[in-house]
Symmetry: C2
Subunit: 213 residues, 2 copies
C-alpha cells in the first residue's frame, strides 16, 4: 500500500507497529470508526460504531442503508480508528505534531451470520454489560438490522508520542515547548424525562464514569 496514513507533519516521531496486541488495545479503547468505500469511482467515508470481536471488526446498521448493502456486496473497504491523545508543542511550528494512535484496516465485509451475538458485542462494547440489562431484540428489530464483519488481516498501526525534537539552536532560545495531554472526558448522566421513579442507574452506565473513553 503506497498511500499510508501519516498525521500532521514531516518530521513527526511516528512509529509503525506490527504488534497485534497494540492494535487490539487501540481498537478496544474506541467505539467510533470511519469506514470508506468507493462509490461510482469516488471515495465515501461513513463514521460508524464498531467493535472488535476476536479477529473480526463488527459494524451494523439498517438493512435499508445503501452503504452497508454496498459493503455486504463485497465493496473493498478501509476502516480507520484514531485516538488523539494530545499535542506536541515544539519550539517551531514545523516540529510540532499530534500525539495519536492510528489503526487503518483493509478488507471486505460480509454478513455476520451470528447476528444476535454480533449485535450484543456491539452493544456491550459501548456499554459493557448492557445486553443483559435490556430485553432481547424482537424479530422485527432484527429483520431491520444488518450486522457485518471484516477479518482483521491487512492493517497498519501508527503511534506518535514523544517529546519535541527541536534542534539545539531552537532549544537555546526563549520559546516554550512541551506536551499537552488530553485525559478521558468527564461523563455526565441524564435520566430520560419519561423514566419511571425508582429505577436506578444500571452498572453499564455507572461504569462509564470510571472508564477511559
Amino acid at each position: 500500500m503506497s498511500a499510508v496514513p501519516k498525521l500532521v507533519s514531516t518530521r513527526m516521531p511516528e512509529k509503525m507497529s506490527t504488534s497485534r496486541s497494540e492494535l487490539d488495545d487501540l481498537l478496544d479503547s474506541q467505539f467510533l470508526a470511519h469506514v470508506s468505500l468507493v462509490v461510482d469511482g469516488e471515495p465515501v467515508i461513513i463514521p460508524t460504531l464498531f467493535a472488535r470481536d476476536g479477529d473480526r471488526i463488527l459494524i451494523h446498521g439498517s438493512t435499508g442503508s445503501g452503504w452497508l448493502r454496498a459493503l455486504a456486496a463485497g465493496a473493498p473497504a478501509c476502516v480507520a480508528v484514531t485516538e488523539v491523545g494530545g499535542i506536541v508543542v515544539a519550539r517551531s511550528a514545523f516540529e510540532s505534531s499530534i500525539v495519536y494512535r492510528s489503526a487503518v484496516l483493509f478488507g471486505v465485509f460480509t454478513t455476520a451470520e451470528d447476528q444476535v451475538p454480533a449485535l450484543a458485542v456491539l452493544t456491550d462494547h459501548v456499554l459493557p454489560g448492557r445486553t443483559a440489562e435490556v430485553r432481547p431484540s424482537t424479530g422485527k428489530e432484527l429483520a431491520a438490522t444488518m450486522a457485518l464483519q471484516m477479518p482483521i488481516d491487512q492493517w497498519s498501526l501508527r503511534t506518535s508520542d514523544a517529546w519535541p525534537d527541536d534542534p539545539p539552536e531552537d532549544i537555546a532560545g526563549d520559546t516554550w515547548a512541551g506536551v499537552v495531554r488530553f485525559g478521558p472526558p468527564p461523563v455526565t448522566i441524564h435520566p430520560d424525562p419519561n423514566l419511571r421513579p425508582g429505577i436506578p442507574v444500571p452498572p453499564s452506565v455507572t461504569e462509564l464514569s470510571t472508564t477511559d473513553h
Copy 2:
C-alpha cells in the same frame, strides 16, 4: 450521493442540516479529519490535522507523502469530521444510539499557493496564537512541506442528539434510560525536559485548558 453517512442504527434520531454556520461550528471545534481517496481502485483513509479557513479546508504534510501527492494531482477526496458527544441509552439495544455531529465533504484538493499563511491557519487552529509565539519557518522547512486546500462546496451535515424514543411498552417496564454525555477532556501540560528554566507556559497552551477540545 446515494451512499450517505449514517451512524449506528436504524431508528436513530438523525437530522440532516443544510446550515453552513452549523457546519462551520463543527469544523471549527475539531482538528482531526479523516481523508479518503481511491488508490488502485481501493479506498484508503488517512487521519490528519485539518483547519477550516473561510470557504476552504486546509491540510498539510510532507512533500514526500504519497497520499498528499495523489490528492494534489487531483484524486477525488472525501473528508469526514466527526464529534461524538455521548450515548443515548434507550430501554432496548435497538433504540440506543450515539450523540454525534458528522460532517462529510467531497471535492478535489489543490496546492494552497499561499503556503505560509495556510500553514499558520493550521498551527493556530490547534494552538490559537501559536504562530506569533514561534520563529518563522525556514526555507528548508517550507520546501519540505505541502499545504493543500479543498473548497467547502459539496457537503452533508448530520447530527443526532435526542432523548431515547422508546415505545410505550418499553417505557412501562423497569429498564433505565437516559443520555450519557462526554464533556471536554481535561488537559495536562508537561514541559519539555530540555526546557530552559524561567520560560513560562505561553497563552496558546494555557488557553487549551479553558477550551473545549
